[in-house]
Symmetry: none
Subunit: 204 residues, 4 copies
């Protein structure tokens, strides 16, 4: 996986990129986010701080790259079954946000990247769009099969899915379990019209 947040030549990266990103994940897992300082990563990676700063503009960018490597954004296989495919998509999302390291870092990551539009857009690219595109493909298959309304708002579907899962994971202590997964899946498969532009013509 390329280094989305590294500021080096589009191709490159430090010789010790792997060592550094591994060290970042190690520190994160072992000592938690508050202990995840550049100095700690440099020390754990046996690397000078400057090597890190040469390639990543700040801590958040480094962490983003470190997490990107464990963030699942794989394609949804064509199972012939719309419900199964969408359930697969929801499960993948839940997996991502259930990962201890990712969940612990996401708010801080967001907080750190928000003031930097350039980094924020790379963040979206890395963590959202790639996965979304894969899920959108599955949704489009469902539309073609006639299982979902032809004008389904795929963005809205994904915002609802990811939003709900992330919110549950961070803001409440409710577990993100299979019941939730099934609920979110059926919300679309059995009520796709709710996600179409004009939800319905019921005139009140």
């Amino acid at each position: 996986m390329a280094l989305a947040f590294s500021s080096g030549p589009p191709d490159g990266g430090p010789r010790s990129a792997a060592k550094i990103l591994d060290a970042a994940r190690d520190v994160l897992s072992a000592q938690g986010y508050p202990a995840l300082t550049i100095e700690a990563v440099a020390a754990a990676a046996g690397v000078g701080k400057s090597t890190i700063y040469r390639w990543w503009p700040n801590k958040e960018a480094l962490i983003a790259d470190a997490l990107a490597e464990i963030f699942r954004a794989e394609e949804i296989p064509d199972l012939g079954d719309t419900h199964a495919e969408l359930r697969h998509a929801v499960d993948m999302t839940i997996d991502n946000y259930t990962n201890e390291d990712i969940a612990a870092s996401l708010p801080a990551l967001a907080a750190g990247l928000l003031p930097h539009p350039e980094l924020m857009s790379r963040f979206r690219e890395t963590f959202l769009h790639r996965k979304r595109e894969n899920i959108a493909a599955a949704l489009r298959r469902g539309v073609q099969r006639g299982d979902l309304p032809h004008d389904l708002d795929t963005d809205l579907v994904q915002d609802v899915w990811a939003g709900t899962i992330l919110y549950r994971r961070l803001m409440t202590d409710t577990p993100t379990d299979t019941a939730l997964a099934e609920h979110l899946t059926r919300l679309v498969t059995e009520n796709g019209s709710g996600f179409a532009p004009r939800a319905s013509r019921t005139p009140t």
Copy 2:
């Protein structure tokens, strides 16, 4: 509004609480979250740092109290119209997360409070439960009117609403407009069964 995050006597608070919370909001609006340091707030409030530290355990607690005062958690009026009431609820949520200061601070707030379960639970209490209870009341009215399924999962409804709105606001650059509000409202009013425990095919 009481000081949920102050560590003082349940009633009390510093004599200069108002000055301090005002200053916190001022700094936040004027200079953004990264500049929102305790020292800056103390200076802006014309107060000693120790006065702040005497009453709030850390920066996040202070900010949480400052934001709590502009966070809307009002009751949903009984309008006799379920759709209108729920739309009101969604609008209130959107308003909260559209507020510049709240949106800019929420991720950092979450990041700062997550490692402190005690504070995190006060955060939930302050920012979520009170508003949720008000919305739940409106949902229950809808159930009693027969507009919503009797076994509606009010928590799920709210997680979907708040999750989607927050996610849109922070993670995408899609605006949180009235179309979204209407969508989210109709998702429930026209498809309440999707939010009932067994999202079966019981078409009401």
Copy 3:
């Protein structure tokens, strides 16, 4: 003993003067000079800080009064024996500076009082002049007995005595023992002329 450093009415002093000075000495003995804060003394004495500040202008003044009560400045008895009397004087000085609390506090006391001429002069009065006068009386008896030169510089004698003892105690780790006492005594009794204005007429 009056309160030399209290700023109250010449007579008075706080009702709890004894409690406070005792507490100061207790804290000093138990926790050492660095822990000897006004707040610690107030707490140990069960007294409000303001009560202390009402009567003593600062920490050093308080400590000075506390130590003055254990500082020996008694009269030298007329023993009929000049050497014995002077030895008594030297022993008294050594006793004072050997006292753990006094030795630990003197430098800090000096450091704190030096910039306040008014307090410094009270310090001299309390800790030096009263004792010096007693010793000077003994020296004068020695002069009258013919054991010491008629023009003995009693101030110089005392500066040498106190200076040497204090210096040894603070700046070196050499003990201030009876050998030193005897040395300092004989320096005067056997060589009084060295302390007379014109040390001698040796023309080279």
Copy 4:
């Protein structure tokens, strides 16, 4: 002059050592000891506080190094004249303790270093032993010339000299003038036997 109190590599020191020590002396001279804070020195030196803390464990160590550079501990030239050499030694001591900065700082320095035996011993090494050794050499020359008793207690001589001078300077307002210098010198040259172990009556 090496940095006796710096905790760095025995040789080294911060790149900006000179800037820092100069700034310390400047602040001391210009604003007096109470204003001599680490923050003030850092600001005056255009240096970060951490740079100072990296090399000196506390304020006293820094000041000790700053003063060490103006503390005279030079060798006493062999003048062939014992009295002249000793007078030179006494004058050097008086010079040191007459220096405004040194006198203002010594008590505070002692107060600050006393609780730290390690620093206190470096203090002795820096401010006392080096000078004492030079003076001891002069005293030994006097012994060899037969001008002073063969068993002269050189330590006692120096304690008397330094003690008396320091005491006069700090505790009394008597000036430390040439009369005192001459007195202290003659106390030894004309009465050396008073400083020999058994201060007997051997009148030489």
